[in-house]
């Protein structure tokens, strides 16, 4: 009897896992087809390029932030860290005259350093991640403005000699052909992140920390180190995001980047990463990001301006989290068996036992048993339905009685108050 309630059939289980894994991709495909049918000129190479273009920098930081969220933390600083790194790199190139390759390295170093800083605040100094990264968000924005002297930084254009790095993210052919190569960079980054998260110790420990930090610590895992590494990775991806931003948009304004982190977090959440930690996947996050950029490109094609994107993204985020909550609640619910269920369970064991007996028999004996079995089956079914009905009626009756009593009580209470 102990197994009842926890023993799901295999098909149920497949259904459940399947739903979790495929819901977000299915939503993306449906969305794409929806815009294809109802939007103007949506099924085109240009809009595909636009969707991919719109995903780069958010995509990179969303991957990083996924690591942090899996540990049960949050990184609010990714957006401004990315932009701070971009503007510092641009200043190094433009104002200080550093070579391009060195400027790109500067971008990566700055972003990684901020990630490291977050990691120390959270894992060693025990600051709540929300506060620590909120502080870093402001600090990084300030640092960007201070270093750039509140002047925008301009990266070389494609035609200049130092513009080579732009081709990493978008290849322009001689005949006007554009290939969004950034997609490949994003995919490779995601692939590496995926490997780290699922195939290395680092990933395993990041999940362990997010699932139950104390249990991980008691199992001898260096909890501080791995929690910190999640923030460092978030910094590194912010650096890659910064290079992507510079490549796509050329001019970097000071004090930008606020709000990007929210899109990154939204992407992770839509992709199934749980804000309470322990659950999440890199490719889920990517799907989340693509859902947002599809909205961004698709809505204008339906004559709805881009700002509708914010509105619908909000709806999608809330929907995704609600769905997740509902699913978790369903999964952890304690089921109380009513008499009808108990009856059915006992009958099922009887039937199963008979089935086993039959498989061992042959000839007329088996035929007889089979007949007996089918009669038991029909009886079980009808009795179960009858019991269920009775149960329902009883519940209804109790509910009605309670409601009536409650009403009477309210009336009495009102009377009492008046006499007071």
């Amino acid at each position: 009897m102990s197994e009842i309630g926890s023993n799901k059939s295999i098909s149920d289980r497949v259904k459940e896992i399947g739903m979790q894994k495929f819901l977000a991709p299915a939503a993306l495909v449906i969305l794409y087809i929806f815009f294809g049918i109802f939007g103007r000129n949506f099924f085109s190479f240009t809009s595909l390029v636009n969707i991919l273009d719109a995903s780069y920098y958010i995509g990179f930081i969303a991957i990083g932030v996924t690591f942090v969220i899996i540990t049960g933390g949050i990184d609010l600083s990714v957006g401004t860290v990315m932009m701070a790194a971009a503007i510092i790199g641009g200043t190094a190139y433009k104002s200080w005259g550093w070579p391009m390759w060195l400027s790109l390295i500067v971008i990566m170093v700055v972003a990684t350093a901020f990630g490291y800083f977050n990691g120390i605040l959270v894992s060693r100094l025990r600051l709540p991640p929300f506060i620590a990264t909120l502080g870093t968000m402001m600090i990084s924005m300030g640092v960007g403005s201070i270093v750039s002297n509140v002047r925008s930084a301009t990266y070389p254009t494609r035609s200049e000699a130092d513009g080579w790095f732009k081709s990493i993210f978008k290849y322009l052919g001689d005949d006007g052909l554009t290939i969004p190569t950034g997609f490949i960079v994003l995919f490779i980054t995601a692939m590496i992140a995926f490997l780290i998260l699922t195939k290395t110790k680092m990933g395993r420990y990041i999940f362990a920390v997010g699932s139950n930090k104390e249990a991980a610590r008691l199992s001898g895992v260096d909890v501080q180190k791995w929690e910190m590494m999640a923030y460092v990775i978030s910094g590194i991806t912010a650096g890659i995001g910064a290079i992507a931003f510079a490549a796509v948009y050329t001019t970097v304004m000071p004090a930008q980047g606020q709000g990007f982190e929210l899109y990154a977090i939204a992407g992770a959440v839509i992709g199934g990463t749980s804000l309470s930690g322990g659950v999440g996947s890199v490719f889920g996050t990517l799907i989340g990001v693509y859902i947002m950029s599809t909205l961004r490109v698709g809505l204008p094609s339906m004559d709805l301006q881009a700002h509708y994107q914010t509105f619908f993204t909000g709806v999608v985020v809330i929907g995704a989290v609600l769905l997740d909550l509902y699913r978790n609640k369903r999964a952890s619910e304690v089921r109380i068996l009513n008499p009808a269920d108990i009856y059915r369970n006992t009958q099922t064991t009887v039937i199963n036992r008979m089935k086993k007996e039959i498989s061992g028999l042959s000839g007329s004996e088996a035929e007889e048993k089979k007949k007996e079995l089918s009669s038991i089956r029909t009886e079980t079914k009808s009795t179960y339905i009858r019991m269920k009905k009775e149960d329902k009626a009883e519940k209804k009756r109790i509910l009605a009685a309670e409601k009536a009593a409650e009403k009477a009580f309210q009336k009495e209470l009102k009377g009492d108050l008046k006499t007071l």
Binding site: M1, S2, E3, S6, L195, K199, T200, K201, R204, F207, A208, G210, S211, N212, E214, A215, A216, L218, S219, G220, V221, G278, V279, A331, V334, I336, I398, L399, A401, E402, K403, A405, E406, A408, F409, L413
Partner: protein, 526 residues
């Protein structure tokens, strides 16, 4: 004993098996603790406790709640540091500073609450921190790790899929995984702290088989449990603790269940028990609960509460008393059952409804659920009744000061002013503020959950007097308490619970600690 071996390490295995055999035959001690003292701010939790454990032995450790069993085990596993005393482990002095150190030395513990990573798979949980890597050492070898876990499960006769996510297993199976994890560390001593609390009868039998199997391999086990019949079934010896002191150790076969209970409760009773109920049998029933079900720990609970009665709820930890109270108060969801207040059925869906029907709940954890310690006496006292002192949009300041003053005097709450923050009051006075809160709200049914926990002796008797006065005024009180002398001193009637069920209803007249204890350990299906 069957010796599994390969040619290469035959010599080694024979030697180690010889050692094991010698240890088992000579009854050698693997662990001995002598004169362990541990103090927490003012509380002397362990007062020179001795404990001895032999190789391959299953040793039950029993005692009432708060007897010091868990503290003792936490000292042994390095979660707490002892103040004084000596631990010998495998013939050497042993002083662990943290759980990891104890684990590497060969002492592992399975806590009462499961302490695992539920999002990871079974095998990932078992080998966390010691992952199987692919050659090269960069990537994890989950496949190999699953095979390792499979082999481990086979050795322990457990039937669990290593690649299953932990949260998908039943609590019983999760417990098995935790045991497998502990065993995979090559332990010499395994501590099991109430491992059967959440298990079904079949699972308990499985667990015992595994334990016997481990014992035959020389692993010594400390088995903490409240369940007397299980102790009789599984343990070789039993040690009793009481109030932080060592009472005695006996061979399980030589002592009866009653002997053990007597050893557990045998303290000098400095509080005189009540002899006779103060409530006549035909007193009005103010609360009637029928077949209440809520969650895992409230199963078919039925009882009646009379006007002016103090109804004691006795039972061991995890008996479901607090859960019953929370369900009754609407704090947890009621799944089925009926509740009648003053003879009328009511549906209590949340605490607001309960408050409206005159029920007040004093939580066992005042600081977390009962009070806002950062607020003042007046704010806490009025917490439940602001509605009554509202005039239009605003709270009537004069009235609430007057009523608070009145109750501060009535309950003799020692506070310089009613604006004093709760943080600055003693535990006893904080508890009185909670009582004031419900009295101001005109609650007629008061649920006291461990009313004297963490309160010093003087304040305790004040609380007792207050409760008796309230009952005399016609308030009805449900008192949940884990201290048997307290239950016997205060109650007119006693409801005893065990594992979510009411196992006994005792009149105060003629009952005893032993009788209450008997019902408190009365498990189903045994």
């Amino acid at each position: 004993m069957i010796i599994h071996t390969t040619k290469g390490n035959l010599k080694n295995t024979v030697f180690s098996n010889f050692l094991l055999l010698r240890r088992l035959l000579l009854n050698e001690s693997v662990l001995s603790m002598k004169g362990i003292h541990k103090r927490f701010m003012g509380v002397h939790a362990l007062k020179g406790v001795d404990f001895n454990l032999k190789y391959g032995e299953i040793h039950a450790l029993v005692g009432e709640n708060g007897a010091g069993k868990s503290t003792m085990m936490k000292v042994l596993t390095g979660i707490y540091e002892k103040d004084s005393g000596e631990i010998q482990f495998q013939g050497k002095l042993f002083h662990p500073h943290n759980p990891t150190q104890a684990l590497t030395a060969g002492i592992g513990i399975i806590h009462q609450e499961l302490n695992m990573m539920e999002h990871l798979t079974v095998a990932q949980n078992i080998y966390i921190g010691r992952e199987t890597m692919k050659s090269g050492g960069l990537f994890l070898d989950d496949k190999g790790q699953n095979q390792r876990a499979e082999a481990l499960f086979n050795r322990l006769n457990m039937n669990i899929d290593p690649s299953e996510t932990l949260s998908r297993l039943t609590v019983g199976k999760q417990q098995m995984v935790e045991i497998a994890k502990a065993v995979s560390h090559d332990l010499k001593v395994l501590i099991l702290d109430e491992p059967t609390a959440a298990l079904t009868e079949i699972e308990i039998e499985e667990l015992f088989t595994i334990m016997r199997n481990l014992a035959s391999k020389g692993v010594a086990m400390i088995y903490i449990s409240h369940r007397m019949d299980e102790i009789g079934r599984i343990s070789d010896r039993v040690t009793v603790m009481r109030d932080g002191e060592y009472v005695g150790t006996n061979d399980t076969k030589k002592v009866s269940k009653e002997d053990i209970i007597n050893m557990m409760v045998g303290r000098i009773i400095y509080e005189k028990p009540k002899v006779k109920s103060n409530v006549s049998a035909d007193a009005r029933v103010v609360l009637e609960v029928n077949n209440l079900n809520a969650g895992r720990l409230v199963k078919d609970v039925s009882f009646k509460l009379h006007e002016g009665e103090i109804l004691g709820f006795a039972g061991l930890m995890g008996a479901g008393r607090t859960e019953t109270a929370r369900a009754l108060f609407g704090a947890d969801e009621i799944q089925s059952g009926t509740i009648k207040v003053n003879g009328k059925p009511v549906k209590i869906t949340n605490p607001m409804v309960a408050v409206r029907h005159g029920i007040g709940y004093l939580s066992e954890d005042r600081k977390r659920y009962g009070l806002a310690t950062g607020l003042s006496v007046i704010e806490n006292s009025l917490m439940a009744s602001y509605d009554k002192y509202e005039t239009g949009l605003f709270i009537h300041a004069g009235k609430i000061r007057a009523i608070t003053d009145e109750y501060v005097n009535k309950l003799s709450i020692k506070t310089p002013t009613i604006d004093q923050l709760l943080n600055n009051l003693s535990g006893g006075n904080q508890q009185k503020v909670v009582i004031a809160k419900w009295l101001i709200n005109d609650a007629d049914i008061l649920i006291f959950d461990e009313p004297t926990r963490g309160i010093d002796v003087g304040a305790k008797s004040e609380i007792y007097t207050l409760m008796n006065e309230l009952a005399a005024q016609g308030k009805s009180i449900i008192m949940i308490s884990s201290e048997l002398p307290e239950v016997l001193r205060m109650s007119d009637r006693i409801i005893v619970m065990c594992e979510g069920r009411v196992t006994g209803e005792l009149d105060i007249e003629g009952t005893s600690q032993e009788e209450v204890m008997k019902y408190a350990t009365m498990r189903e299906n045994v």
